[in-house]
């Protein structure tokens, strides 16, 4: 289901829309509305009418030393450190059209202000889809999803947006309009510049248009959820299933009580188990049946004792619930206190990327460090996401030392994906830049190149200053 164009924003804009504020000047190509955002030092959000006015606005902002904070559906505002310089939010709600959809070419080109659910509805008409997980599709925009590139349960089979973006239009921090890639599925002319904008949180450019590779929607989706007693059991099941030739489209361990609340009306999680193993398959009837048989043959009897199964739309919905894990908490509890906050504790979301075989051990380690943790363990693709709650004064230290140490021991990386606005947490803690082996010159070298790239594309540091890994 698609929410109407950011409902609260629309309401606000009725009240506050004005077309001229002193620092921007009178320009009907830019709609300006008063709106503050947590994490960002802004009072206004600007909505350019088209790419040209966006480019001009960025170039002017660079000249005046104002910062620009691109915002999409605001589902991931808590990812990244707070902005460091005052400026304007920029939202692309007026750039949300379909540009081209040659369905038989398996590509679609859209403006990046389009909501994910709008894109999905378009693709559905041709029985196609973009098979990557994007949390909160009714709010998230295509541009925002690209900037964040968050992994979800279907990554194990379908990868991330990096595997689907074929080309882009971008406005960089100088106000230059760049076209990169192509509108065809294969292109070897020039650099894959578009790769740089995926996951870099809008710090190198504002993406205005994207060409995506799309795929046919599989006719059948079956998802099984098994309540299990502990992580070792999950590990056994996964190891044994791994011996079979079948490729799951969802493979995740859902740890903690919160999952019961998140899953809403889905009956399976009503059992009192401490965790669940979710495994799903997509494809034609025959292959999905065969894979389900393989699950029954390979999983340990203890796991097979009880399960719930979901089909097709219900399975899709459940997979989306899993994908929503990193943002569900914010969506639900903005402002209210719950089991994660209170007593001087603050809730944060940790994300560790690891080798797949390390994920369950790592999850075990996290639950030792913080009992009662709610986790999403993507066993097939090597990601652990954990909601934990820690007293604020100890936060930075524990993330860097305890959790950071546990991650680095496994050559993984650790970032903080959510923290309440106002929490003291440094940029280097958030992006896992501290600690580490400083003698690791190869990693330092990579950071040096990243900085040089930033200097090339945004020399004035106009775009999202302070939010990502750059100073």
């Amino acid at each position: 289901m698609c929410e109407p164009l950011s409902a609260e924003a629309a309401k606000k804009s009725e009240k506050n829309e004005r077309f001229s504020i002193p620092s921007i000047g009178s320009n009907s190509r830019l709609t300006v509305m008063a709106q503050s955002c947590p994490y960002l030092p802004i009072d206004d959000i600007v909505e350019p009418a088209d790419e040209t006015s966006l480019a001009t606005f960025i170039a002017e902002s660079a000249g005046k030393g104002n910062a620009i904070y691109p915002v999409g559906g605001q589902t991931f505002m808590a990812l990244g450190a707070p902005g460091t310089r005052p400026g304007y939010g920029v939202r692309l709600d007026r750039l949300r059209s379909l540009v081209d959809y040659p369905a038989e070419d398996l590509t679609v080109t859209v403006q990046s202000g389009m909501r994910i659910c709008e894109l999905d509805a378009l693709l559905r008409e041709n029985n196609q889809r973009l098979p990557v997980d994007i949390p909160q599709p009714s709010r998230a925009t295509v541009g925002g999803a690209i900037a964040v590139n968050w992994p979800g349960p279907r990554q194990v089979r379908y990868g991330t947006l990096r595997d689907y973006v074929l080309g882009m239009r971008v406005v960089d921090g100088r106000g230059n309009r760049i076209f990169t890639g192509a509108r065809v599925v294969k292109n070897a002319a020039g650099y894959n510049l578009h790769r740089l904008y995926i996951g870099s949180l809008g710090t190198l450019g504002v993406v205005t248009e994207v060409t995506l590779m799309v795929r046919p929607r599989p006719p059948v989706h079956e998802l099984l959820v098994f309540p299990i007693a502990n992580l070792q059991l999950a590990a056994q099941a996964v190891e044994r299933f791994f011996e079979t030739p079948y490729q799951p489209s969802v493979l995740a361990v859902l740890v903690g009580r919160r999952w019961r609340a998140e899953s809403g009306d889905l009956p399976s999680l009503s059992s009192s188990a401490p965790m669940w193993l979710a495994v799903g398959f997509e494809g034609r009837e025959g292959e999905v049946r065969a894979a389900l048989e393989a699950v029954k043959r390979s999983f340990p009897a203890e796991v097979l004792r009880e399960h719930a199964s979901f089909s097709n739309e219900v399975a899709d919905k459940f997979a989306q619930t899993i994908a929503d894990f990193p943002t569900a908490y914010q969506a639900r509890s903005e402002g209210e206190s719950d089991e994660l906050s209170g007593n001087g504790k603050v809730p944060i979301l940790l994300r560790a990327d690891l080798l797949p075989t390390d994920t369950l051990n790592y999850a075990e380690r996290i639950s030792q460090l913080v009992p009662e943790t709610n986790m999403l363990v993507l066993v097939g693709s090597g990601v652990v996401q954990a909601w934990i709650s820690i007293p604020e004064h100890a936060l930075g230290d524990r993330v860097d030392k305890e959790f950071g140490h546990a991650t680095r021991e496994l050559s993984g990386s650790l970032i903080v994906g959510y923290y309440p606005a106002g929490t003291r947490l440094s940029r280097s803690t958030i992006w896992g830049l501290t600690g580490g082996n400083t003698s690791d010159v190869r990693r330092l070298m990579a950071h040096q190149i990243a900085r040089r790239i930033k200097e090339q594309f945004d020399p004035q540091n106009v775009l999202n200053p302070g939010r990502y890994i750059f100073d």
Binding site: P102, A103, E104, D105, T107, N127, N149, P151, G159, D163, D172, N176, F179, R183, V184, V185, K186, N187, A188, A189, G190, Y191, N192, L193, R195, L196, I198, G199, S200, R215, P216, R217, G283, R284, G286, E287, A290, A291, R351, T357, G382, V383, S411, G412, S413, I415, G432, V441, R442, R443, M445, A446, I449, A450, R452, I453, E455, Q456, F457, I469
Partner: protein, 489 residues
């Protein structure tokens, strides 16, 4: 072989400073440095034999540290360098526009690790594509990119060109299968990105892939291993016309199928393949499609029936199913050797690489036929039809300059049509020197500037692979001496 002190101190054999040569020798050993002109001839071109430029020296390092030391020497002496794998580039990617040093990665051939459970392998850049494939036999896994040059081309070269192949329709190109790289920068520093995802880092791996040696020298790669499908159906379908075949391709995709491969061969190329391999291809047809369906046995029959029905609707004359793994292998061997088989038809040939949106295939095919007539050049066609990726092969005689000029001009017109139809001047062979001038047609000046900025971040002195991929003053100057490739007005 000339003794080092005889030839260099006399300064007659190489433009490089004797001092630099000596330093190179001390790093990799004298036997691993070539500088005598007669030894350098082999390195003046690659699979694109129309363009040549001789390097001043060639080195063969055997590990990353040596590559780094070589780069430091070049950096100190301001010597241009160019990394080279097997030299199978079909676009002149290995032509050292700046002269200087060619750095061969072909001695770095160790497979360092195979981790099936985490689905990756770690290889040195010089490992050949099939060398890895062979190491994986029986494991149930493969490295999915399989360019037709796979028996020779190196994985480092595959990464540098973002190589494709017949199976990219379903499995993607090289960039979708690279988890991490270790690379040496132009100043000799070593950088690593991956294999574990780091959200707190830009996707350096993604931009290094396809950068044709202009950003860094790739020395080690963590490649993704993909499970082999448990079942396969490989079909050979003959159509009365190329148009029928391309329409069938579009309809198969529209039906929601993603075959592992959808390869097209026209009558001209079939004749060459038949002459070479006597495979029994029909020669009185317009085109043959090689269609491969893969996945779970349980679903393949259904997909096969859908595919058959579509082919029949588009007038398929003959639908043959490979009945054994041997038959399948033979069919693929024919497809992958098709280009080489062309050698029998003509003294020289030049294989083009362009791409259009798949639905525009019928248009581009017609245009190619028209160009063939207009320029009076025989053109035969293979295509990764499922990707809209065409490979028209121009048959000519390199000894006749007028023919070479016509081939170049005809090729240019085919690629301009690809751009006009919304495609690209190269799908998988890269820009090399062949397509430098066309980059200015596909991209606007601002887009090229952005590409130059990226290069600046990695390779600020421009010593690494100068003048390539994105045209600059040096490339234009060089192209000016090569009017046939489009430099001169």
């Amino acid at each position: 072989m000339p003794r080092i002190n005889d030839s260099i101190t006399e300064g007659q054999s190489t433009k490089l400073a004797a001092e630099a040569i000596r330093e190179l020798c001390s790093v990799v050993g004298e036997q691993n440095v070539l500088w005598h002109p007669s030894d350098l001839m082999v390195y003046e071109c690659d699979g694109y034999t129309i363009a040549k430029h001789r390097p001043d020296a060639v080195v063969f390092p055997s590990d990353t540290q040596q590559v780094a030391a070589v780069a430091r020497i070049c950096h100190r002496h301001k010597i241009p360098m160019l990394p080279r794998g097997a030299g199978t580039s079909l676009a002149g990617g290995c032509v050292p526009l700046g002269g200087g040093l060619v750095i061969m990665l072909t001695r770095m051939t160790r497979i360092l690790e195979i981790d099936l459970r985490n689905r990756f392998a770690v290889v040195e850049a010089g490992v050949r594509n099939t060398q890895l494939a062979r190491a994986l036999v029986g494991s149930g896994y493969h490295f999915a990119p399989d360019p037709s040059s796979q028996t020779a081309s190196t994985i480092g070269g595959n990464v540098a060109t973002n190589a494709g192949g017949p199976h990219t329709l379903k499995y993607g190109v090289t960039v979708n299968h690279v988890l991490g790289v270790e690379a040496v920068l132009a100043d000799g520093s070593i950088v690593q990105h991956g294999p574990v995802v780091d959200p707190g880092m830009l996707d350096l791996c993604g931009v290094l892939t396809g950068s044709e040696g202009t950003l860094a020298i790739v020395t080690k790669i963590w490649v993704r291993l993909t499970p082999l499908p448990s079942a396969l159906r490989t079909l050979r379908v003959a159509f009365p016309t190329v148009e029928d075949a391309t329409e069938a391709v579009s309809e198969i995709i529209a039906a929601g199928l993603i075959p592992a491969a959808l390869e097209l061969m026209d009558r001209g190329i079939l004749e060459a393949v038949e002459a070479a391999f006597q495979f029994g291809f029909p020669l009185d047809v317009g085109a043959v499609l090689v269609i491969e369906l893969d996945g779970e046995e349980a679903s393949l029959e259904e997909e096969l029936q859908i595919t058959r029905r579509i082919c029949e609707r588009w007038n398929a004359r003959e639908i043959l199913l490979a009945n054994s793994p041997e038959e399948r292998e033979r069919l693929w061997k024919c497809r992958k050797s098709a280009v080489a088989a062309v050698g029998r038809l003509s003294p020289s040939y030049c294989i083009q690489d362009g791409v259009v949106p798949r639905t525009k295939l019928p248009q581009i095919v017609k245009k190619v036929q028209k160009i063939s007539q207009e320029f009076n050049i025989r053109i035969v066609n293979v295509a990764h039809a499922g990707d809209g990726n065409i490979h028209p092969i121009f048959l000519f005689d390199e000894r006749e300059p007028a023919q070479v000029d016509r081939v170049l001009e005809a090729g240019r017109q085919v690629l301009e049509e690809c751009i006009a139809l919304g495609g690209s001047i190269t799908a998988e062979h890269g820009v090399g020197v062949e397509k430098l001038h066309l980059m200015r047609e596909q991209y606007r000046p601002e887009d090229l500037t952005a590409m130059r900025r990226l290069r600046e971040a990695f390779n600020p002195d421009g010593l690494l692979t100068p003048g390539k991929l994105v045209p600059d003053e040096r490339s234009l100057e060089w192209l000016g001496t090569y009017p046939r490739i489009g430099g001169a007005p």
